[in-house]
Structure formats: C-alpha cells, structure tokens
C-alpha cells in the first residue's frame, strides 16, 4: 500500500541515496492524522527565522516610513513638525507626481511590449536554428545582461546617445549633435530603448525555456496536418505558452514599474523632469530636495499602488491556474 517514488530521488548517476533506500524498505503505512498534525505543528518553527527577518527588514521600516510621512521633515528648510495627513493632501496637487505615475504606466507597457516581441521572436529564432549555431546564437543574445544595468545605462548614455560619439544618431541618420536624451519629448523613449536592450535577454531565456518545454508530439501533429509555421505559432504555440508568458511578463511589468537604475543614471529625471518615473521622482524629493516627510508619503502611495497591482496579478493568476498550490 505504501509506495515511495525512488525515481524522484535518484541522484545523477542513478543511485538512490542510502537514507531513502532504508526508508523505502522499512516504510510503514501512512502516518495517522493526529501524528501528522503534531509533525506539522513543529514545521511552523521553520518559518520563524525568515519571519523575523521580514519583520526587521520590511515591517518595521514600513511602519517607520508611514510614521515619517506624517511629518513635515525637510532638511533644506529646517522643518520638523507633525502635520498628520498634510503630505497626502499635498500629493493631490502634485502635478509632477501625477505625470510620473502616468509616465511609469506608459513605460511599463512600452518596455513589456517591446521585451515580449523581441524576446518571443528571437526565442523562436533560437529554437529553430540548428543546434550548434543555436548555442552560439544564444550566447550572443544574452550578452547585454552581462553588463550590469548601471553599466549598460552609462554605455548608452555616454556613447550611444550623447554627442560626439552619438552611435544611435549615426545609425539612424540624425545629425550627431542631437541627443535623444536632451529633448523632453524623446528622453523617455531613449530610456525605454536602453531598458529593452538591457533586460530583454531575460525574457528571451524564459520564453525559450517555455518553447523547449512544449510537447513535441502536439507540434508534429499540427505540422503533419499542414499548418504553416506562422499558423503553428499563432494557434498552437502561443496558447500553450500562456502560463509562461503571463508569469514572465507580469514579473517584467512589476520590475519595470519599480525601475530606478536606468532612468536615474541616464537622465536623472530630466530634462525639466520629463523623464521622471515614480521611483526617480520620489528619490529626488527625498534625497535631492531632502524633503523626507513628503518623500515618505509619496513612497507610501507608491507602496499602495504596488500592493494593489501585485494582489491583482496574483488573483488573476490564481483564477487562471497559473499559480497552482501543488497541494499534496
């Protein structure tokens, strides 16, 4: 009646570790429920160290930032007084914050969209290439992530966009004295392009793994039925990859929402605040204008938005079955 799946516990050379062999041989019937429950009671202790860490690293700081947000605490103006929800009222009139919020949403859509298109198409390409070339190709595709984000931002900011090197201008045919980052209407686009260049290899890797995990029989069957490659992709592959795509893109969306390194290093929010995302706007408030109270309140608002969004993602994923519980 009692079976132990020794296959699952085989190590690489096929041998089953001693402990498990013994367990398998002497395994008694499944434990009774009350014993089970007493075992479980002990398991909760395993969560304690992490829980304490979360308390120290997240809960307490968040309580503190909420506390700070109730003060007008501004170093440059030598103020430190309790004003209750005054900061939050100020946010309602803060056009800069509103623009930063809109811009951030726009940035998320653009980056995730571009990442997906690039990542999926290149993954298809890598998947369809003959094996030897494919490995080399993959190595080339992931090169951008070897450059740590701040370094990629510096590269694009100093060489690709800015005169006199202006590689981007030269490639596109613009005069080399024009910098994408210097004009309010194009600065955000410049950042988006760089972010896509720097992070899309991750999306590529995830989607490629998804592609390689597809059941080949289904694909072969469809091809025998006469489907062309585009039809195959559209009707068979994409639907099957929905869970992978959803998880990948929602992770990317959250990362982009919180994005700080690229916009800060490339433009610092300028020119004239036209490329501020939420993170950079709040950072500027708190650490450039040294307005800690107001910065804290902005941070709390951003936190609420992040919590709502991530909860929505989880609920959606739960309903669609992407995040199962794998319950025993």
């Amino acid at each position: 009646m009692h079976r132990v799946e020794t296959d699952a516990v085989k190590s690489e050379n096929g041998a089953v570790p001693a402990v498990h062999r013994i367990a398998a041989r002497t395994a008694p019937p499944v434990a009774r429920r009350d014993i089970q429950r007493s075992w479980d009671a002990g398991m909760w202790w395993f969560l304690l160290p992490a829980a304490l860490a979360v308390l120290a690293v997240m809960v307490i700081p968040l309580l503190y930032v909420i506390y700070l947000s109730l003060f007008d605490y501004n170093i440059m103006q030598y103020t430190y007084r309790f004003i209750g929800l005054g900061n939050y009222a100020k946010i309602l009139y803060d056009a800069g914050f509103g623009w930063a919020l809109l811009r951030t949403w726009w940035y998320v859509v653009a980056v995730v969209g571009a990442d997906f298109i690039y990542g999926f198409l290149v993954a298809l390409l890598a998947w369809k290439l003959p094996l030897g070339w494919s490995k080399l190709f993959r190595a080339v595709v992931i090169l951008p992530i070897l450059l740590i984000p701040s370094a990629a931002a510096i590269l694009w900011r100093s060489v690709i966009y800015t005169p006199p090197y202006a590689v981007f201008d030269r490639l596109v045919g613009l005069s080399t004295s024009v910098s994408l980052l210097a004009s309010p209407s194009t600065a955000l686009w410049g950042i988006i392009l760089t972010a896509v260049w720097g992070w899309s290899p991750w999306v590529f890797l995830l989607l490629l793994a998804g592609l390689e995990g597809l059941p080949t029989e289904l694909l072969e069957a469809a091809q025998i039925d006469g489907a062309t490659f585009p039809q195959l992709v559209w009707h068979v592959i994409l639907p099957m990859m929905k869970p992978v795509i959803f998880v990948t893109l929602s992770l990317k969306a959250v990362d982009s929402f919180l994005s700080f390194t690229f916009p800060w290093v490339m433009t610092g929010g300028g020119p004239g605040g036209s490329s501020h995302l939420l993170s950079t706007y709040i950072f500027e408030r708190a650490f450039k204008f040294l307005d800690y109270g107001y910065g804290s309140s902005l941070g709390v608002v951003m936190l609420l938005i992040a919590i709502l969004t991530s909860t929505a993602i989880i609920v959606y994923a739960w309903r669609e079955g992407y995040v199962g519980t794998d319950a025993a």
Partner: protein, 457 residues
C-alpha cells in the same frame, strides 16, 4: 552537474579570492608619524578633477604623518545634499567637506572653528589671509570666526575662435553686413548677437552655431547668473527679499531682458542650438572644440587646459577668452564661484584634519594641481593666481571676472534660492516659459521661500 557543496565551494573561493585581492591591494596601517592609524573621510566633488594629482599623492601624507585619506567623490549636483544630510541628520560619515559657495552659510554652523589653529600657525587671522581675495575671507568667516579654508574660485567667461574672428574675409563680410568692425571680443549684447548671427551657418552639410552655452543644471544656472549679475541684479537685498520679486519691481525689467537674451539666442535669433537644455559644460565645450560653434560662454576653467592644448589648437586654432558682455558694455561684475574646505565640528581627529588642510594648501601641492590637473581653477590666494596667469595656465578673462565679482548676500537658504532659480532657468531654456513668466515666477518663488522660512520680514 554541480552539487550544492561544489557551488558553495565556488562561492567561498570567490569570496576568499576577493578578500585576498582586497588585502593585497590595500595599504597597511602606517605606524609612524604624528597621527598613526588615523583615517580622515573626505568628501569632494567628482567635478573637481583638477585635484587628481594631489589625491594620487596622499600616500606621501600618510608616510609623513600616518594619516590615511579615504576620499568619496560625488557629482557637483549631489554634493550639497550629501553635505547637509551628513551634518544636519548627524550621520557623521565625513570629517572634511569640499563645500560649495551656496552651502557655506548653512554648513558653517556645524563646522569646526579654524581660529585656534590659524593663530597657532600664523599668529593671526589677518596674517593668514593676507593674500586671499577679500570676498573669500568674508565668506569663510561668515559666522564670526573662520570656519572654512578658502582655496578655489572661478567664474563664467566667454571664448571665441581667433582664427574665425581674425580672418580678413570674415571681417570684411561682417563690416559689409552689419556696418561696424567685427567685435573681438563682443562687449555688448548687440555685438554678441550680431557676431553670433554672422557665424551661424551651414558648413559642409553640418550646422555651425554662432554661440553655445550650457542650459542644464549648475552650468546652465551659472550662465544666467553671470548675465544677470553683470546687469547689477544679484539675489537678495539686505532684508532677504528677492531682488526681482514683488518687493523690487524696478529690477524685473532687467531680469526679463536677460531671460530674453538667453531665450532668444536659441529660439528667436536661432544662433544657439536647441539642445542647450540638455547640455552641461562637457557637452557645450565639446561642441566648441569640434568646430560646431564660434563662441562659447561657460565655466571655461574646467576645460582651459584642453582648449589651449596643442592637440586642440592644431585642429581649431587658438581661443581668446573674454568677459561676459553686459547690455550696455559697462557690467557691474559677475558671480564668483568658490569652494572651501570645512571640518566637521564632531570630527574626532581635529588636529589631523588641520594637518591635512595644511598639506593640501601647500604652495607646491596647489601648483601641482594647476599644472598637472585636469582643468584649472582660480586660486583664492592672489599670489598663486598671478603666477598661474603669468604662466598662461588660467584664462585671463576668468581671473579678471573673479577679481571684479560681486559678493552676493549669503543666508541659510541661499542654496535653496539658487536651486529654485535653476529649475526656472532650465524651463526657460526649454522654451516652456516666456521670459516675462520666468521673471515673475522665479521672483515670486524666491520671495515665497524667504517668507516661508522666516528670513524675510
């Protein structure tokens, strides 16, 4: 396949290797000298590359005195916040601060008095400051006693391409078109605009501009400040009211004219590039050096070594510096920029800090920075300044501008005042504001700041 143990081994090896690196690369604690084992944390601007040769020499200081210097450098745009944050919040990360002019007043209340050390080494403050530019001493002792050590100053100046301005054909064409001799250098706004108009042209398909100047962050603000100061308008009156706010309507016309000049150079006369709002000094100098502009107005001393280097003069010829023109030709004096070293009052190594300052300010060390550093500056020590000018190390116009500069009123919020005006200058350069709006809004913003902080009655 790597097991967990092997991966852990890899990680440990990496960490051990990194640690060995670090220990091997680091210096051991010096056990000789007056201050064995002392480390001073110095905060300086990464824009001050003039002092690189000296920072590279701190090993000598350590050998002589045992003092180790841990240098942190942040961009100029961030250093004010870093200084104030450290002093006001009291985090005490640094012992010595390279303090910019507009932060000196606010920072000085947290800085150590240098008087006892000055008196010990020089006898009196007068003896010590005998050769310093007067306004520098005044700023250093804003709290009564000397809280900072001056050493660095500069100003905004213009430069023009000698080859272009001396060319006989150009001179003839200019005279034919405008009716007077090509002004070299331009001394009034009209001369500036005319010369810029003349030199704005298409050359081999590339746009060449008559004039270029920065519009971004500090450099952008500095250019505006220079022009407006030369018109006789500084920032605050004796009662801390904005000199072009609601209390001083008589100045608003002048400020609007300055705003118009800068704005129109870009958008009306079209003699300056529209990318100016995104350009700081490095970009504008680069444009000038690459033959894309005939004139430049900027904090030239940062690039003077490059501008007068053989590599550059071979390519584009010599450049002649000139003082920033005023509307009528009779300017009242520009704005000086100055930095001074201050010591944290809570510093636990006060004697060592003074020893560091003495070492840094030694004549041969400062001369090293002026000759071997990247860029130059105008030393507040006038003897050094004269020596540098005679060696042609400093652009004459910047030295003259520093001498003529107007001292502007300092108070705890002067940094914030300039911060505030800077955002408006950026908007003006972006054409997001009309010159009249600029004057009104920036004047009101400064006035409101002064009233809100209780400095203006």
């Amino acid at each position: 396949m790597k097991t967990r143990r092997e991966v852990l081994k890899d990680l440990t090896t990496l960490t051990v290797a990194a640690g060995a690196w670090g220990l091997a690369g680091g210096r051991g604690l010096a056990q000789t000298g007056k201050f064995p084992g002392v480390t001073l944390n110095v905060l300086s601007s990464s824009g001050h590359q003039q002092f690189n040769p000296l920072w590279n020499k701190v090993g000598e200081l350590e050998q002589e005195t045992g003092i180790k210097v841990a240098l942190t450098r942040v961009p100029t745009a961030e250093i004010r916040q870093k200084i104030m944050q450290d002093l006001v919040v009291g985090t005490g990360q640094f012992d010595i601060y390279d303090t910019p002019d507009d932060t000196i007043f606010s920072a000085s209340q947290y800085l150590m008095s240098l008087d006892p050390y000055i008196k010990k080494d020089f006898g009196s403050v007068e003896a010590w400051g005998k050769y310093a530019v007067p306004w520098a001493l005044k700023a250093a002792s804003i709290r009564g006693d000397v809280r900072l050590h001056p050493f660095y100053s500069g100003s905004v100046a213009g430069a023009y391409r000698e080859k272009l301005f001396a060319d006989p054909k150009n001179r003839a064409d200019f005279k034919a078109r405008f009716g007077y001799d090509l002004p070299a250098p331009p001394k009034t706004w009209k001369e500036l605009i005319d010369a810029a108009t003349f030199f704005t042209r298409q050359e081999k398909g590339e746009q060449v501009w008559g004039i270029v100047f920065p519009g971004k962050q500090d450099p952008g603000l500095n250019v505006f400040e220079m022009f407006v100061f030369e018109e006789g308008v500084t920032y605050l009156d004796d009662e801390n009211h904005s000199l072009w706010g609601p209390k001083h309507p008589e100045n608003q016309g002048k400020v609007t004219k300055v705003a118009e000049l800068l704005h129109d150079l870009i958008y009306k006369y079209k003699v300056a590039p529209t990318t100016i709002p995104g350009m700081a000094t490095n970009e504008s100098v680069d444009m000038y050096l690459n033959d894309k502009a005939a004139m430049i107005v900027d904090v030239l001393y940062f690039s003077w070594d490059e501008i007068r280097s053989k590599k550059v003069t071979d390519r584009i010829g010599r450049s002649v510096s000139f003082q920033v023109p005023s509307s009528t030709g009779e300017g009242k004096g520009g704005i000086p920029f100055y930095w001074m070293f201050g010591v944290n009052a809570k510093c636990s190594q006060k004697d060592a800090a003074w020893a560091f300052l003495r070492w840094f300010m030694r004549e041969d060390n400062l001369k090293l920075t002026l000759t071997k550093g990247i860029g130059v500056y105008v030393p507040t020590d006038m003897r050094l300044g004269e020596w540098a000018a005679s060696e042609n190390i400093l652009p004459p116009a910047v030295v003259a501008a520093v001498r003529r500069a107007q001292v502007y009123r300092l108070n705890p919020q002067i940094g914030q005042v300039r911060n505030t005006v800077r955002t408006y200058v950026e908007k003006l350069d972006l054409n997001a504001l009309t010159p009249a709006e600029f004057t009104k809004e920036s004047g009101n913003a400064v006035e409101e700041l002064m009233v809100r902080t209780g400095l203006a009655k």
